[in-house]
Subunit: 333 residues, 2 copies
DNA sequence: CTGAAAGCGCTTACAG
DNA sequence: CTGAAAGCGCTTACAG
């Protein structure tokens, strides 16, 4: 009924449980014939190890934690997929946790994962809970920060080039002749907010333009603020002739606002957005987007983590910066 | 450095580890004063239990497995969110697994989760691996099937009313005067394919119409088949004047095909789809959709599972059927 | 009400 | 090359 244990295998094979353990873990000091006998017993009983006992006694649980801010955002679900695929290949499992941008919830998860004895952690951090994260590091549990990085917490990191991407997007608008380009961008407390605004500034300055302060709107990455801030922009005295929106959710809200005002893109107003959700292609005409390599973001962060896990060396933290791509109306199924 | 154990607490409190365990597990046979002393030691050391040891020795791991077919489909990610929220409330954690519609991958995960000693399983099954699933049931590990159900595997189940939803959608087209309504629908081997086709038939028959066999296209729920089958429909002798598409991904492909043919919805062709992804609102005009309560799907399945876990009764399997809603162009942020 | 002890299923020194 | 034994951190009968 219950699963067979190492004891059952030992009995069937006529050896000690220590020997079975050695065979299962591929130790080299085992007689080849003994190994065969044991493996036969393993097959016969369809034995597979109890993961809890292994984790308790040994060091490793073959489990990693993944904490993201919002799995409903395709950015994160695609990323999660990249991580899961890699983990699967390596024989690891994933505890999926959603912080909902809530530091307290993140803290709870960090505590819980600690006691589940995860081998490693991939996190897109809220920005708080630094002591807890450091506790992991002290315990030699590797952490990879993905998508955003906490300043001062030195771990392996995988980010996309937020500044470069925003720069590309804004320059596209400039190249099309728009002169009064507004921006709706995320909080200036985190890299994905800050760096995208930097890219906006650098693009304008390359064109020798001065940013108009009323054209800079700081939202919180949600549809709601995207909508509200776009409405504000459209009711200004000095109306912008184009807008760059700093993520997919705010862009969605902004589109609704633009539609309410019966404006057409690109004739009435220029529009470029960060992220490339599928609805950007459904829009007519297809929207110009800055696409982040989200699957790769997951893949690379998993690779960094497994690298630490397998070669447990003390080499200094690595940072990977992935390129973002400007997509102009091409689409594929 | 390492976490404090029950032993450390016992030493600090001056009692045995058995007593500490009793306090922690809220047994009633503990002297109130002893309880206070122990709790103080727990606080002081910031002790929290090692989940692996608890799982190995006790019965429960406070962990559930979730196997879905494709986390990238918002249907499943929203559902997963509903499950995670509920699990979190109950103090459980989630192993997230993606089968990718691949029975072999599903099998691997079922094996792995078994050995991680999950307390319960929520699964949107591929349709195979029945023996493995039965092994769980024999071991009294409750299973909830969600979104789809394997015929003959009797477990708690949460589905949406696929037939009713499709019926609503097709009848909407009929009510608008379309007469030659085609359907692109999923495989007829699973409920979400079969029942939606049934709804199509029942709607036509309510209007005393006979289905035209060339207008019935069976795809596999992917964008690719949606695109290809829509193109087939548009090149028929007897062209349909409307189409009902059986899920969000196929609908995406179908829209691209319709756009290639320069047809406008709803004037040139009627269009209603199952599922309500955000891009349906971005389309101009907003598409008519049959919305599944996906968050609720997750919530309800989690509730059924925790109900089994907490009241471990042997009551017969329950089935919940959730209503789907026809959305006609209303949209909200 | 409390403690000593066994045991969950493993891995890992320690002998031989 | 192999086995007996200790121990990972808990829970749970069994005594008292």
């Amino acid at each position: 009924m219950v699963s067979p244990t190492i004891k059952d295998v030992a009995k069937l094979a006529g050896v000690s449980i220590a020997t079975v353990s050695r065979v299962l873990n591929d130790y080299d000091n085992v007689n080849p014939e003994t190994r065969i006998i044991v493996m036969k017993a393993v097959d016969e009983l369809k034995y597979t190890a109890n993961a809890l006992a292994k984790g308790l006694r040994g060091q490793k649980t073959k489990t990693i934690g993944l904490i993201v801010n919002n799995i409903l955002n395709p950015i994160y679900s695609v990323m999660a997929q990249g991580i899961e695929d890699t983990a699967r290949e390596k024989g690891y499992h994933l505890f999926l946790c959603n912080s909902g941008f809530n530091p307290k919830q993140e803290e709870d998860y960090l505590e819980a994962l600690w006691h589940k004895r995860i081998d490693g952690l991939i996190i897109s951090p809220t920005g708080n809970n630094i002591p807890l994260l450091e506790k992991y590091l002290h315990a030699k549990i590797p952490i990879v920060q993905v998508d955003r990085k906490i300043v001062g917490l030195e771990t392996d990191t995988v980010l996309t080039d937020n500044e470069g991407g925003a720069n590309l997007g804004v320059k596209f608008l400039l190249s099309k002749g728009y002169k009064k380009i507004a921006i709706i961008v995320g909080m200036q407390t985190i890299t994905t907010g800050m760096d995208r605004l930097k890219g906006y500034f650098s693009a304008l300055s390359e064109y020798h333009l001065t940013p108009e302060s009323s054209h800079i709107k700081i939202g919180d990455f949600t549809k709601q603020t995207g909508y509200a801030l776009m409405k504000e922009l459209l009711s200004l005295e000095i109306k912008p002739d184009a807008v760059f929106v700093g993520n997919n959710l705010m862009a969605f809200g902004a589109i609704l606002a633009i539609r309410e005002h019966k404006l057409r893109i690109p004739n009435d107003i220029g529009f470029v957005m960060f992220d490339n959700p599928e609805w950007a292609q459904i829009h007519e005409p297809p929207l110009v987007t800055v696409e982040q390599p989200t699957y790769l973001l997951g893949l690379k962060s998993a690779e960094l983590l497994f690298n630490r896990l397998e070669f447990n060396n003390g080499s200094p933290p690595q940072s990977i910066l992935l390129e973002n791509k400007l997509l102009v109306g091409d689409f594929t199924i």
